[in-house]
Amino acid sequence: MTDTNMARAQLAQGEEAIIEFNDVNKWYGDFHVLKNINFSIKKGERIVVCGPSGSGKSTMTRCINRLEEHQKGTILVDGVEMNNNLKNIEAIRKDVGMVFQHFNLFPHLTILENLTLAPIWVRKTPKKEAEEMAMHYLERVKIANQALKYPGQLSGGQQQRVAIARGLCMQPRIMLFDEPTSALDPEMIKEVLDVMVQLAEEGMTMVCVTHEMGFAKTVADRVVFMDAGEIVEANKPHEFFDNPQHDRTQMFLSQILNH
């Protein structure tokens, strides 16, 4: 971790939490998928969530913008409780961008229309302004020359960068990444990670579910390890990787780092 990142992490600790999980429990039918999650994320913090498949890491992340409902406990996002109040959910979703494993771009719209859809309809931004902003973010993810193409004409890496730009167009306060590189060919992972690193350096609050341990080492303020619906360990990356406290974490790390 660089010095500036260290400084940022310390600064972040002083600030108040922007996402708070209090005793969160969730079941899929009888399956207890999240067990007593207690966790808080401060403004500007970059969190990487890892763990074996089925450990609940995606589910926990998706609870933040209520793509998944939890049944017990409270989740506060930006001070607003996520419950059945549709108005609250819609208000929070405006401020929380999300990037999915399978990009989920809208195939019937051009890249530019994908980016301007939410600003125009949710934020009521004038079309021209929304398009200018979209082009700005497309340039940032280095894909502005593809603006008038359809998602189906782009490579996976390009589509995922578009998806990130689409999230940014809503000018969110939090970005959620749900395994953003897992569906990509190895050659394309780097171009997506580069964009995410750049975003992290600008101070965006990020929650990222990923198996990219290199990414976790470089940009994360804290790495969270989950297994069987619980948070096993959450620590600063150098301590997490060099000195894991829990035997389950040690086993996981040995499996993913030594192959």
Partner: protein
Amino acid sequence: MAIIFKPSPSLPPPVTSVGPVAWVRQNLFSSPLNIFLTLFSLYLLYLLIPPVIEWGFINATWEGTSKAACTGGGACWAFVVVYFDQFMYGLYPEAETWRINLAVILLIVMVGAFAIKTINKLYLSIAIIFAYPIVAYFLFAGGIFGLEVVETSLWGGLFLTVLLGVIGIVASFPLGVVLALGRRSDMPIAKSVCVVFIETIRAVPLITILFMASVMIPLFLPEGLNFNKLLRVLIGITLFSAAYMAEVVRGGLQAIPKGQYEAADAMGLTYWQSMILVILPQALKLVIPGIVNSFIALFKDTTLVYIVGMFDFLGRIQAANHDANWLGTTVEGYAFAGFVYWAICFGMSRYSMALERKLETGHKRN
């Protein structure tokens, strides 16, 4: 020093795999069975086509005032020529048929205007969907601007067929979409209402619904609260078609990956925004073949109004067959009916294929 990789140049395909000769060889004479089938089909065509052309054109009679004039031994098209106006307009007063023609021309012009680039497509759509029906209604029914009133009982022929078909299609489509969304809704009441409606209507034959509309409803309604039979039949046809449409659209909604719903939700779109902007455009495009299938079926099903005493295109032809002057012209009448239905349905089918091609955005793997 590393070896530099240079891709080999692309070569054209071998001559034997392109061009018409290759096409014929691959598609018609690729195996002994295919050779046999090709020759057999050619023989069947040889048996069929010359007699049909002889009957329909060479020996056909085009002029005359009764069956007796048809002496050529071929088709008696004079029957169709004499009755043509009635087949087209039913019993609509002859002096007033220009009103129907005008309405048709107006519609063609308005739809054709979509091709003009400078025109505002939204306003044009609104004009076609909301203003045109009012104009057309007063043109058909009369009663204002000194237009003579024409009772709906006089409406008939192809005019009535197209009217029933078009209104049935235009009205059942949005209703079907709403029913499909309702059936997939989380709201228990909306969902059960839609399920009960769809399953009830689909379980009943169209004839039953038409009988209900024309005979039963007037019995149940109190005296003086009756309304036009054509309108009742139209409502029946619309509800019937909407139930089928709903299931076709539901198929499309189910084919949209969950990720599309999630992405729309995650960006804060409301339910109706995500449906109208994200889900339906994709779902409807997927089910264009099914939708057009329903439309074509509905268009042909409208002939059933004959059962409740309305003389549509086919009804008019059947009635004319009973004319003592033209006995024995049934084949010509049905051939004409078949040709007109085929032309209209084939046109709908070609249009839908063109629409699918136009909406293709390259995300589908062929």
